[in-house]
Symmetry: C2
Subunit: 264 residues, 2 copies
């Protein structure tokens, strides 16, 4: 079993909830890598027997740092119509089953329509010519990915936070909605491009819009995803990040944004 | 009382929930203007006696079109620590109290920190020199706002969907988190910049990051907000929109994104 599949694995409990367990290999600084946590929330939805359609929008709010060990996932269908489903997820942990994560999502059955891609994928050097990401601090999860930067470097007091990165699982794995969700959180924190001093940070909310159906995504395979990320503002304790995740043939697979707490 | 305050007004029920009533003057095509609905969800949080801090992140999922009449708002504090609160909101309606909207939010007490604004406000002609927005179809809510476009026009088959608009309440009102939330949904749907034929559309999820505290926002007063909006992709039934809301002295007040269903 691929370690990512092990990390997002959920076991059905008799009462309808699901149980998972944090994996040390995806550990961040004080909690699991947020990308895996977001993928676990989505997996809770995808495992539902009455689930219909593909993910369109996912928002994950990180309420408290998850602890090492077991956790429980509660999933609720809040509303559905013929082609759209609205879901709410809570990940709980500890003796008092406190909420560590709450998330909401929209799923839908996609139809063929007119469309356009207005975003333009910027030119960049290949993954082979890009620099392997070196995190600022000792963390386990970066070793589970092969992230290489074609533009942007942390700790360089750059005038901007724009980065281009090639992203794939260190051990090859065909991309799906779960791994794409995790990829959305692999971008180095924007603050550290602009500033070389380390300060504690933590994502409080992650938002993802998916722009492909499952079959379209499956066609991508296990090649690296190309990520473009930039921050717009850092003000009084919170900075943002926007990113695009591009697949083969200049297909925009997902767009994502997050807001991140920083200490000073 | 300003009509917007009337539209977002909630009355406490004995069981802890809140009751509101849709206002015809903010009616959209088949449901109330989504910006007001988002503001109602946020208002449910701001009215809580144990609420602490300012909104940082808000995600509103539109689960079903709200009907004319009364609705009930349920607000739940899912998790809190010393400086951060996580909230969940549901707006319900009808005999079976079905979920029409579900939302999650992060609030926090902001501290002074180092910061930067990387986004650049583009130059534009003044509000006086801009074109008043003319919606494609008969809707009530646009008359409640004074929205003028300095760049971009719907129904022109433009090569891009980038627009600059000046936004204010038609009847002047000092901006606060509630009206800023509503402003985030005043942008004409990106699809209609690229395409002149009308098709049914509907926002399914709206995400807002706030980049100011209440006292900083209060300093803006009732002058127009400058909005920059653009879509990145429209594919198989869903298109996105990203926007920045700028205040006086080039201050980035909020950034927002939404994903919108379209029929064909």
């Amino acid at each position: 079993m691929h370690p990512f599949d092990e990390a997002v694995r959920l076991e059905a409990l008799p009462d309808g909830r699901w149980r998972g367990r944090t994996l040390e290999s995806y550990w961040n600084m004080v909690s699991p890598f947020g990308g895996v946590t977001a993928a676990i929330a989505l997996n809770g939805i995808l495992l539902q027997s009455d689930r219909q359609g593909d993910p369109i929008a996912l928002t994950v709010n990180y309420a408290a740092p998850m602890q090492q060990g077991d956790f429980e996932v509660g999933v609720r269908l809040t509303r559905a119509n013929r082609s759209t489903q609205h879901w709410a997820v809570e990940i709980r942990q500890g003796a008092n089953a406190e909420v560590m994560v709450n998330a909401i999502a929209v799923l839908a059955v996609r139809r063929d329509t007119w469309g356009f891609t207005e975003a333009v994928r910027p030119p960049a050097v290949s993954a082979a010519e890009s620099r392997r990401f070196r995190p600022l601090t000792a963390m386990r999860w970066p070793a589970m990915y092969d992230v290489r930067y074609a533009r942007g470097e942390v700790r360089t007091d750059s005038p901007d936070s724009l980065s281009y990165s090639w992203i794939q699982d260190a051990e090859p794995r065909a991309v799906d909605f779960l791994s794409l969700t995790a990829y959305c959180d692999t971008f180095a924190p924007r603050l550290f491009f602009r500033r070389s001093t380390f300060v504690p940070i933590g994502t409080v909310s992650l938002n993802i819009y998916f722009h492909v159906s499952a079959d379209e995504l499956a066609r991508h395979g296990s090649e690296p995803i190309f990520g473009v990320a930039q921050g717009q503002v850092a003000h009084r304790g919170y900075f943002d990040q926007q990113a695009q995740l591009w697949g083969r043939q200049d297909r925009l697979l997902a767009t994502t944004q997050q807001i991140v707490w920083y200490k000073e």
